[in-house]
Symmetry: C2
Subunit: 223 residues, 2 copies
DNA sequence: GGCAAGAGCTGGTCCAAACAGTTGACCAGT
DNA sequence: ACTGGTCAACTGTTTGGACCAGCTCTTGCC
């Protein structure tokens, strides 16, 4: 119940139907309008508040914020397609572009900082990647796990959390039509080569190849 | 009430006091233990769920997730110091490093994509920056607004939302001790030069200078 | 006209109850 | 001894109503 109300209000704010600064209906009105209990409304409102989509004033009215200035990256995490189709066109391209930016720097830093065990794990994962087969669904999962190793290797928590947001959210759309990624996913040589460059601690070369790999998805999303 | 309970449970999960897979106490028990109403507990639980720190099963027990694999970037947005001091040391360094990564690429893309108006706004902001004075608090605010213009110029929503998360969260810690940043904030020439490179649409040069500027904060956080 | 008391909104908290799904123990059969 | 179903005791979900606390605008007095 509260989930549906949350999604509905969120979309109204994201689309501008409720503009920044506008007051939301009171909790009692929302409960009456949507035929739910006020406690369900409060749960939805709390979540909107945590997304920094609204501002709540005790005694006053709850108002929509300018989400472009306040909301965080977790906004893109949701039912695949909702944001891109309904509210914010182009968010998939943006998420892929950001993944490329983060992933390339993570590859660089991983080459510099990853422990011996972590580098070995990356090499092993690249080798195991060839065993996955050609099922694109499984390849996608393996691909995400592979990048996660690289990002964990660089030891930056912010990169890791961003990756979670991007993978759980918009990028899952891409998994829904994985044929778009088949070329990238099947490029076993590139995976092995990137693992090798990280293992050799050649930061610049690792960054370059990672960027090249990830930018393919961006280009594919554009075309 | 629910905010306090949320923060408490969140810290217990982040510190590992409640490990991944462990069940949380039932809502009724939590309400009794902390002396609050069950609805307050439910609001806190809903927020934890949205942060992807827990998984809720109707009829079953609520369990903690492995937040390193599921949580999003918005986790770093909180009362300044909580995460770094209590739960996750080093998150400020990580956030600054990520800001450098994002900011540099945004500067590059801004040089490529920003409209004429946006480029003019960036140049104007760089000029106006000199008028702010030497109050470090105000300079910090102006600095954030300045980078926001660049990130808006690149037109990537994911970058913008990430910037919001980073600025609202961990980086506000830095503002608490702005003397650390004074050298960077007072570097008017670098600001003007970066604006100029974006205005000239010299993407590579803009990226390089932006990275140089932002990496100073990272280096300062390290030292 | 200016100011203060109050009514009528807003969100914040609480109690109590019924609903719905899961789990596990228990007992009747094979 | 094992299998199968039943039931009671959990879990989260939703509802209703009541009251407190803070803001705002109206009202009415000075």
């Amino acid at each position: 119940m509260s989930d549906q109300l949350f999604a509905r209000l969120r979309d109204q704010i994201l689309t501008g139907e409720i503009a920044a600064g506008d007051p939301l209906p009171s909790e009692r009105d929302l409960a009456a309008d949507y035929g739910v209990n006020r406690h369900a409304v409060r749960e939805a409102v709390k979540r909107l508040q945590q997304c920094r989509l609204i501002e709540v004033f005790h005694g006053g009215r709850t108002r929509a914020l300018d989400w472009r200035r306040t909301a965080g990256l977790d906004l893109v995490v949701d039912v695949p397609g909702t944001l891109d189709a309904v509210s914010v066109p182009g968010v998939v391209h943006d998420a892929l572009e950001m993944r490329a930016c983060i992933g390339a720097d993570a590859a660089r830093l991983s080459a510099l900082r990853a422990s011996e065990d972590q580098r070995a794990a990356i090499v092993a994962a690249a080798a195991a990647y060839a065993e996955v087969g050609e099922d694109l669904e499984e390849l996608s999962v393996a691909d995400v796990a592979w990048w996660r190793l690289i990002i964990e290797g660089c030891g930056n928590l912010a990169y890791l959390l961003s990756f979670n947001s991007l993978v759980d959210g918009a990028i899952t759309m891409e998994q829904a039509s994985p044929e778009l990624r088949s070329a990238e996913l099947l490029d076993l040589d590139a995976h092995r080569e990137l693992a090798d460059r990280i293992a050799r601690q050649d930061a610049a070369a690792a960054e370059q190849l990672a960027r090249e790999l990830l930018n393919r998805s961006v280009a594919r999303a554009d075309g």
